[in-house]
Assembly symmetry: C2
């Protein structure tokens, strides 16, 4: 095939690549698989009623983080947090992890210690054992991969599939703050937030030290609230689309119901923030900023009252029969967002 | 602390770093752990008599492989092979894997397909399911991480610890060929092997498509041959030292017993190979070349006869009470090797 005609990653994007790879690996010739590629974590049955959850995430310097505005503790913390979120989004308990680090030789040992301390701090919080790893040299960029296991009774596991028309759509908490935090770190909003040290600290922390929603996941499972679930780390809008695609349904999302940090969102002229962070911008961050580790879940009608009691600001829309995902403004008009979320490789 | 005084990775090396990280992670607050950091794979008890094995390995372009002389199929194959070897060296069966790939956008999609096909080919051979992953963009270098699970009855698992004085030391097969294959690929031996296309092909394949010793591992476990085991991917000499350190014993290894490829090793003047590949060189590759995925195991005296029947060329030495690992030549003189094996970061 001529070089010029070869398909590029920019043309097919991350999701196109995942589909190809899924086909190449095929169905394994080994019993016990409940869920393979295509959800936040894989699921394997390991006992009468017990399942093993299995996920992996890689962070590469200058793609997922920058040493310019992230510390080694932050990087270690986040490397584990993203994996915990994948396990929590399936309604399971994280258990055991292994870590690979590729480190440029120029990085002093105490910084590698800090990275490990960031992982260890979060691991202790959720009683996760980091029990193995691989430490290698990297030519110039720091690379961290963590693979994480989880466990759950088979019937408690929540998938991206499972949502039905009429179910309500919920998020566990406010969205958009992490993306706002990243914007602050990148100095884009420095002036605007100078007068707001507390908010600044809060949203920057949301980006640097995301708190995976393990407690919320336990609450959702314990109360049997959800018919399907996904984490929204790639962005709220894309996550709704992924959940709907796997559930073979559509959704109507109400823009004014999306829970935002009110201190960031209202376009009030008397607040210094309003100059750069207005309602539209906050919504854009909420819909497609990514880096939020909230959970998105669907709630059957007979559970909505209970869900509202536990997540009073969580209701953002409903699942529909048609397979279209619409975001509607206060006037019922469909909102067109420029980017639905972050997708690796995609050039659009 | 002054910048100049900070400890560097070159000073402590990979093994020093592993010790620091092991201390930082500490003992996990979760029941079931049988073996944490410090062996080829971690071990967790998951049932009455059932254990889960867990390992991870990362390959980074220009550190572990080069696109100059390795194809994408080879890289995918090896990324899984190194992990399978870690599970096999514990006497366990590999089961489920997850893969992370960081890919420069310049790499055409069909090459990423080939990488996945390399993984899939080896996975099918050992009935391993690749059931999840993460595909991300990498600024300039290809990165592949695989985490692999395995399973085994608890009492069948072999560790680096467990060797006793008087045990025999065995390897599953010839050593040094993979390192010779790499030398050929790097053009160092091009002239020498031009007349030997078959040998060339054979040793290059040993490097590019290492065959993890799953069958041999099964044989060793089934016949209860071993008191301890390790794979020798970092080099034979360093692996003997690691096994001895964990078992708190020493070893005497007999140089003339180390099984080499005879076509590479004998210094015969009438063979074109002899000019560059002599016996000393072959031994150097065997002791410290690395990239061999053979298994090194110790055999209690009452099992040596059986082990010799199954691995007729496997006996290379014996375990001693003193904690010193010696390699002895035909005259009983200790051989001093320049490098004992490959260690990341180490500058010596």
């Amino acid at each position: 095939m001529a070089q010029g005609k070869r398909l590029t990653l920019g043309q097919i994007g991350e999701f196109g690549l995942i589909q190809r790879v899924e086909r190449i690996f095929g169905r394994p010739n080994r019993p016990g698989l409940v869920q393979g590629i295509g959800d936040d974590a894989a699921v394997v049955k390991i006992g009468h009623n017990k399942a093993l959850l299995y996920t992996t995430d890689i962070l590469i310097e200058d793609v997922h983080f920058s040493l310019k505005y992230e510390g080694f503790l932050d990087i270690g913390w986040k490397a584990l947090a993203v994996n915990i979120s994948d396990i929590a989004s399936m309604g399971a308990t994280p258990t055991w992890g292994v870590i690979s680090v590729g480190v440029p030789v120029s990085i002093p040992v105490d910084n590698v210690d800090k990275l490990a301390q960031g992982v260890a701090k979060l691991a202790r919080k959720y009683r996760i054992g980091i029990i193995g790893g691989d430490t290698v040299k990297s030519p110039d960029r720091l690379v961290v991969n963590i693979a994480l296991l989880g466990e759950a009774p088979v019937q408690d596991i929540l998938y991206r599939h499972g949502a039905s028309p009429g179910d309500a759509l919920f998020v566990t908490n406010r969205v958009g703050e992490a993306a706002a935090g990243l914007a602050v770190l990148k100095d884009r909003w420095q002036l605007a937030v100078n007068g707001w040290p507390k908010i600044k600290k809060q949203i920057v922390k949301k980006y640097l030290r995301p708190e995976p929603r393990v407690k919320e996941s336990v609450l959702i499972v314990k109360n049997k609230l959800a018919s399907s679930m996904i984490d929204i780390s790639d962005g709220l809008h894309i996550s709704i689309k992924l959940l709907c695609a796997r559930s073979k349904v559509g959704a109507r999302v109400y823009l004014d119901k999306i829970p935002l940090n009110k201190q960031l969102s209202p376009p009030k002229a008397d607040q210094p923030l309003a100059e750069t962070i207005n309602y539209q911008h906050a919504l854009q961050l909420a819909l497609s900023g990514g880096e939020d580790y909230e959970l998105l879940f669907t709630v059957p009608q007979n559970k909505i009252r209970k869900a509202l009691a536990l997540f009073p600001h969580g209701w953002i829309g409903e699942i529909t029969k048609d397979k279209i995902c619409k975001v509607l403004d206060q006037n019922g008009r469909e909102v067109i967002t420029r980017n639905t979320g972050y997708e690796h490789f995609k050039t659009k």
